[in-house]
């Protein structure tokens, strides 16, 4: 009973380790909002806390989206496609739909969701560059992290974005029109296999185990947190106005109440609730004390370190690296949030 759903699963392990050792490719289409208009840059500067205006055409940026209370309501990658046209890659387009309308005000902008028009494939891992160089018309050698370029794969027009959600130094995303999806899949399948790689098919690998190992968040981790609590405040542009700034300044001044910490559970076969499945997550207590100091946000498995790993959203300064705690009766230890 409670047999670890990650550790003993050879398929998940193989898919995860393909990305870490050779190359893994997978269907990774997100929702895409295309936003354009004369005021688009100013509008995005207002909508997101990180600096947008200094992005050159062809560059991307990760940023959170906040509400007036300074809580994170989305985290996205913004791509500058033209001077007055951006793509926002998100998984919450429908949830933030009203948000855009509500805040448009006098900004002269238009936006439309173009998700159905595009398919996106992640190609991640140490051999990803080599695999793609063998496929693309124009070399991607000079493409830096969070830069994108237009090119072709087997005469199929595509956009290659250097980036990803795996923590790999070499990782790319290929955008093609939806009608070219199946052709591109065949090409990627063959090319990856020749390089010793494979398709990643398991949601848990692409969304949980790979990103967690590299200290990336899936939106559920960030729900009802603020950027200070989850270590995403350092790139905030305090010199501009943005939604949530007033609340965030107050938090900055007074200090944040919680923080995300890493943890490991050495026992393999465990039963601990975590927010990634929904619900509140398992409560965390310091041994011998009654006060709940946090909840388990994420608990997956690091195939690199061979240990159960995850995040706890805890009261600030209550848990420190190396602290030993018990969660639902299992021994656990507080760690850094990176297992690469």
């Amino acid at each position: 009973m409670y047999k670890n759903i990650f550790k003993y699963d050879d398929m998940k392990r193989a898919e995860h380790m393909a990305v870490r050792t050779t190359v893994g490719w997978y269907f990774w289409t997100h929702q895409i909002l295309e936003i354009s208009g004369p005021d688009v840059t100013a509008f995005l500067e207002y909508m997101y806390p990180n600096k947008i205006g200094n992005l050159a055409v062809g560059q991307d940026r990760y940023t959170t989206m906040l509400n007036e209370q300074g809580e994170i309501i989305d985290d996205v990658v913004i791509m500058r496609m033209d001077e007055d046209r951006y793509w926002v890659s998100t998984l919450f387009a429908s949830m933030t739909d009203d948000w855009w309308y509500f805040h448009q005000g006098d900004y002269d902008v238009d936006w439309t969701e173009i998700t159905d028009e595009w398919a996106m494939y992640a190609v991640q891992g140490p051999k990803s560059k080599e695999v793609l160089e063998g496929l693309v018309k124009d070399s991607i050698a000079d493409l830096r992290f969070f830069e994108h370029m237009d090119t072709e794969v087997n005469n199929i027009p595509c956009m290659i974005n250097r980036g990803g959600y795996t923590g790999e130094k070499l990782g790319y995303e290929i955008y093609v029109k939806s009608e070219n999806r199946e052709i591109l899949e065949e090409i990627l399948k063959s090319a990856a296999e020749k390089a010793g790689g494979r398709e990643v098919t398991e949601f848990q690998v692409m969304a949980w185990t790979l990103p967690t190992e590299a200290n990336f968040y899936y939106m559920r981790d960030l729900a009802h947190t603020n950027p200070f609590e989850v270590g995403l405040a350092k790139n905030i542009d305090w010199n501009k106005e943005f939604i949530g700034k007033t609340a965030l300044l107050k938090i900055k001044e007074e200090g944040h109440a919680r923080e995300m910490v890493g943890f490991e559970v050495p026992d393999a076969d465990i039963c601990i609730q975590s927010k990634q499945y929904g619900g509140p997550g398992e409560p965390v207590f310091i041994e011998g004390e009654e006060e709940e100091i946090g909840r388990v946000s994420k608990l997956v498995y690091s195939y690199v370190r061979e240990v159960n790993n995850g995040y706890i959203l805890a009261k600030k300064d209550k848990l420190h690296e190396g602290d030993k705690i018990k969660i639902h009766g299992y021994d656990a230890v507080i760690t850094k949030m990176n297992w690469m």
Partner: protein, 409 residues
């Protein structure tokens, strides 16, 4: 001393649920119940009615296998088509990159919480998913319902998958069921591409699971009794693994019941297949539901409890107002609109919005209530009193509770 303040229901719980005066329900004698309590009351009452309706189905189709197969086929087809034509992936946080039938698990997960079937998701992946329930008000209806609900989820999962890039199939199984006496309901979905197993008939949806060793069983002391939307540690919100979040305000109006969603459609299917004529099916339903209604207040203590629950003053004796008040509580709990045309010791007349009582649009539901109420009034008040439908305007059900002599009653 531990100074912890135990959780309380927030004052705005029920906000947005279209209540008229309060975020809750109020009896004619000013007994007020919270939105949360109202939802529990309505859920259980409808489950009792559904359990009685299941007995009617059992009379119509006595063979368990034949009945379960019929229910599963009907539920699968209907929910598959509902998912195909009306499914909305955004409502459940189904992401564009999800491939295959596993996304359907998110639909079941959210539906469970809305129906007060609280528990937890234990696994959610492309090839395996597991959901464990601690509570299910429908657990009194019978195990064939457990099978049918599983196949409705299978239908939803199939429909959802068809809108997406092709991916692994999933076989949804209820490997444990409270309706069978298990502590939990447990749905395990497995991809047969990854976990092969012999094929089986549609009704045989109880497993066993190939991945039984991955099963996570919550011990009694860790079980929950409320949905996330009513729990403090969840900040009174349902939230799933893809961060789809809802409060409790719309749960009640969206509520389905076992009768409206499974049992009555299955009975309609028996008519369609020619097992019985519609008149025979209605006759059986009427007999069973009236008997069930009578059984509710056959003992004096049940009447006392009901009067206390409604806050009926001692000055009010045995008359139709008690039954009328009880019906009002149910209608308010279901957020079903009604008007009080008369409410006195001689008669009670309520004009009920028929559509509001249909629950998920099942046309037979108001009539089943009428039959059950007719039984209830005989024991809650006394046999001199009857509950009948009279002179209903279009779209309404006008019920009259009054003394009546009927030599063929």
């Amino acid at each position: 001393m531990n100074k912890k303040i135990d959780e309380r229901i927030p004052q705005n719980s029920g906000e947005g649920a279209y209540f008229k005066n309060y975020y809750g329900i109020r009896s004619p004698w000013n007994k007020i119940y919270s939105y949360q309590e109202a939802l529990h009351y309505a859920s259980r009452f409808e489950a009792v009615l559904s359990a009685a309706a299941t007995q009617a189905l059992r009379i119509i189709v006595p063979d368990y296998v034949q009945r379960a197969q019929l229910m599963c086929e009907e539920a699968y087809e209907r929910l598959y088509n509902a998912g195909k034509y009306y499914g909305n992936d955004d409502d459940y946080g189904i992401h564009p990159f999800f491939c295959g039938q596993f996304a359907g698990a998110l639909i079941g997960d959210k539906g469970d919480d809305a129906l007060l079937m609280c528990g937890r998701c234990q696994d959610f992946g492309t090839y395996r998913a597991e959901k464990e329930l601690d509570v299910c008000d429908w657990d009194i209806c019978g195990s064939e319902l457990c099978r049918a609900t599983t196949m409705s989820l299978q239908g939803q999962a199939a429909a959802t998958a068809e809108r997406r890039r092709k991916g692994p199939t999933m076989e949804y199984m209820m490997v444990e069921a409270k309706g069978c006496g298990d502590r939990h309901c447990r749905i395990i979905a497995e991809s047969r591409e990854k976990y092969p197993a012999p094929p089986h008939e549609l009704w045989e949806s109880f497993g066993p699971a190939v991945t039984d060793e991955y099963k996570k069983v919550t011990q009694e002391e860790d079980c929950v009794s409320e949905s996330m939307m009513f729990r403090e540690e969840c900040d009174y919100h349902f939230v799933n693994g893809t961060n789809n979040e809802t409060d409790s305000s719309n749960q009640m109006v969206k509520m389905s019941s076992a009768a409206s969603t499974y049992i009555l459609p299955a009975i309609a299917e028996t008519v369609k297949r020619g097992y019985v004529k519609r008149e025979q099916a209605d006759h059986i339903l009427k007999c069973v539901l009236e008997a069930a209604g009578k059984a509710m207040f056959g003992e004096r203590y049940a009447i006392k409890a009901c009067r206390d629950w409604l806050g009926v003053p001692n000055s009010i004796g045995e008359d139709g107002r008690i039954m009328g008040g009880l019906i009002e509580m149910l209608l308010q709990s279901l957020v079903c609109q009604y008007e009080v045309e008369a409410f006195n010791k001689e008669e009670v007349i309520l004009v009920i919005d028929r559509g509001g009582l249909e629950i998920t649009g099942t046309k037979d539901v108001p009539q089943t209530h009428l039959w059950m109420w007719q039984g209830m009034v005989k024991t809650l008040v006394n046999v001199q009193w009857s509950l009948t439908e009279e002179d209903s305007p279009d779209g309404k059900m006008r019920i009259k509770i009054a003394k009546k002599i009927d030599k063929f009653m």
